[in-house]
């Protein structure tokens, strides 16, 4: 049971971070399919810091540096989307897909190159961080990461920024009706950059949270196994609203962890369902939500539509 809660919270915090990232991007009017790639880069940033920090660095420093590195890596990577979608009015789905492919390929190349350079007999794409990872744990023998309370803080922050500040109001205006925003002097391009980069920041951190969730090494060839897409589902299920996204993340995290640990529960064993059912559940649920509520969707109205200053 404690295992289930543990995993649920771990996965939920990952999903929540990434979905909040997606939420900021979409509220600014840019669909971010590339969350998966952003997560990989965030994870890479964090993992590299863990790898190259000298042993014996204090836990606080490790955590802070990793978090900063992951956010920074995610943010820089998200610029690929911002430039293409905002300045060049590119097809956002195409760019996102390219970013996902590029994320895994580039991260693998980088890690392999580093590994081979350090030891010519090690051409793997794996980074190990057995000791460093311990810095993230709040308790000695429980899988509760410091990233969880950080996620909670970021959730509250995200809500406050979106609904209580000038920035949030303007950001949402750009996602709903960019021409209206522009007519009152808001720089839509800048706001969309801000939205996409915030999503890079949160997505990158989500990537770090994912590779430190219960494992001590990461094979970058595997990317992040669809968590970026799952986070999109969380965001849709959460109706683009931070607190509902948090609930959705808990629910989806719960299913995800059930697929890992369901064999430990007698009742679930008796149901005799294959583990894949629990994996599928989140996607099926969000599809159903889409089917039921698509007619009055809460999605930002202008999302996915490039904004052109010339057209009014």
């Amino acid at each position: 049971m404690i295992l289930l809660i543990q995993y649920t919270l771990l996965f939920a915090s990952v999903l929540l971070l990434v979905a909040l990232g997606g939420c900021f991007s979409e509220h600014s009017g840019v669909i971010n399919i590339g969350l998966e790639g952003i997560m990989v880069f965030g994870a890479l940033g964090g993992a590299l810091v863990m790898r190259y920090l000298p042993g014996g660095t204090s836990a606080v420093v490790i955590v802070c540096l990793c978090v900063c590195a992951a956010m920074l890596a995610g943010m820089i990577y998200s610029l690929l989307l911002a430039v293409a979608a905002v300045n060049f009015k590119a097809d956002q789905t195409l760019v996102g897909t390219a970013m996902n492919l590029l994320g895994t390929a580039a991260a693998t190349v980088i890690v392999k190159a580093l590994n081979t350079a350090a030891n010519p007999d090690n051409p793997s794409a794996t980074i190990q961080y057995v000791n460093e990872r311990k810095a993230f744990l709040m308790f000695d023998n429980l899988e509760f990461s410091w990233l969880m309370p950080l996620t909670l803080v970021l959730l509250i922050l995200a809500y406050t920024v979106l609904y209580k500040t000038r920035f949030g109001l303007r950001l949402q205006a750009c996602g709903e009706h960019p021409q209206a925003a522009a007519s009152v002097g808001i720089n839509v391009y800048k706001m969309r950059y801000a939205g996409v980069m915030t999503s890079g920041l949160l997505g990158g951190l989500g990537g770090l949270a994912y590779i430190t969730a219960g494992v001590s090494e990461w094979k970058f060839e595997n990317g992040v196994a669809g968590f970026g897409f799952l986070a999109l589902a969380v965001m849709i299920f959460g109706g683009w609203k931070p607190f509902r996204i948090a609930l959705a993340a808990l629910l989806f995290g719960f299913f995800r962890s059930l697929s890992n640990v369901y064999t430990g529960f007698d009742i679930l064993n008796q149901l005799n369902l294959p583990g894949t059912v629990y994996n599928m559940m989140p996607y099926i649920i969000s599809l159903i939500v889409l089917i039921l509520f698509s007619k009055n969707s809460a999605a930002p109205k202008a999302e996915g539509i490039p904004y052109d200053q010339g057209s009014r």
Binding site: K164, T165, R166, F167, L169, R170, Q172, A173, E176, H177, Q179, A180, A181, A182, S183, V184, G185, I186, K301, R312
Partner: protein, 518 residues
Amino acid sequence: MENGQREQGGSEYAVEMLHITKRFPGIIANDDITLQLRKGEIHALLGENGAGKSTLMSVLFGLYQPEEGEIRINGKKVHINDPNDANDLGIGMVHQHFKLVECFTVLDNIILGVEPVSKLGFLKKAEARQRLIELSRKYGLSVDPDARISDITVGMQQRTEILKMLYRENDILIFDEPTAVLTPQEIEELMQIMKNLAAEGKSILFISHKLAEIMAVADRCSVLRKGKYIGTVNTKDTTVDELSAMMVGRNVNFHVEKEPRTPGKVILKVEGMTVASRMHKNNAVKNVSFEVREGEIVCIAGIDGNGQTEFVYGLSGLEPLVSGKITLGGKDVSKTAIRERSILGMSHIPEDRHKHGLVLDYTLEDNIVLQRYFEPDYTKAGFLRRKNIRSYAEKLIEQYDIRSGQGPATIARSMSGGNQQKAIVAREIDKDPSLLIAVQPTRGLDVGAIEYIHKQLVAHRDAGKAVLLVSLEMDEVLDVSDRILVMYEGEIVAELDPKTTTPEEMGLYMAGAKRKEM
């Protein structure tokens, strides 16, 4: 106003746009135009579509930089590089299509861009709401600050736009075609609001092509035609006829030459047609019955938004009927598919040529066969007969004088609006339909194209076919039709004879002030 006092500066003008010239490749949109707006006056800017009004306003808002000329605000020469500069100079505008965020509240929309915030960037909404309530009381503009834009009426949305300008302490207010979307009562209210604002010292520029409204509310009126400045007159010293002549360049004789004709047998018979609204829960068209005969042009007149769109959707099959019966040439087509109705002799020139009328990224020829590509002449065994399509397109292009860059292979998007419309008219009329439904066929076109299309409609009637014209333009209704049906709130409230009725009488029915028992 303190503001006004402070910036009085000695000039009698709030805005002066002097000798503005703005060129685009191949066209001079504004050719040496001068516009002077006095402080505290209501000044109308009159001109047809394409006369250069929008360009001139874009110059004023810094969206375009003029090649020549200068702008002075309160007597001071200024450079306006973007809408922010215009806003800083106290210029505000109510756009024809409101710039409101639908899912935001009225208050959020009003403060957007000029939000009062604490040092940390948090919104101070209570303060903003207080100011909004004061403003709304002062000018008699009632709004609910917490209602979402998507839930309120068009009139209240417009008041929100006006309050947006007042909240920004703008002294120069521009209204772009503000009455197009309003009901007659709301128009009355707006006129009063504009007068109040002017009395409070605001300077108002009122862009319109509705002469009656200009005469009713404006002090002076400047006229543009085809990018050129024609002149400025005091409305007190002029007449509707004179303004009209200035606008179109001659004493227009809109009258369409046509011989009287006796209608033949009934082509279209509609009984008790009811169509649901796509916007609200109630029905947009309620229990409408009428007939259209061979050799007559029947016109559905009315103010925009009284159910005409849904009426046409119901007739053409784009929307299912809630109840009622449509008979075309003796056959019940109430539940018949669109394609079938078309084959049975119904043609439809749609209201919105970009939404329904054309596949803009298709070539002209592909658009011309849009209603008959499936006929054996153009399809054989599932394959298109390109040669036949090309020669048919060439025939229509010649016959209807459709002008385009590369003939049949031109992409429709790159054609001018008038020629796009001609292509649709050609396509629909050349099908030789027994019933032609033409919805606002001349919208947004220049005078020449309008005359041409009117002639086509009359020719079709003279060929012994039935024509149903849906129009918002009173002149068009009176000139072209043989019989007028007035539609008000989804019902036909009067049948009038264009020879005996007057615009005033029609106006009363259109505004719902009067109705006949039908």
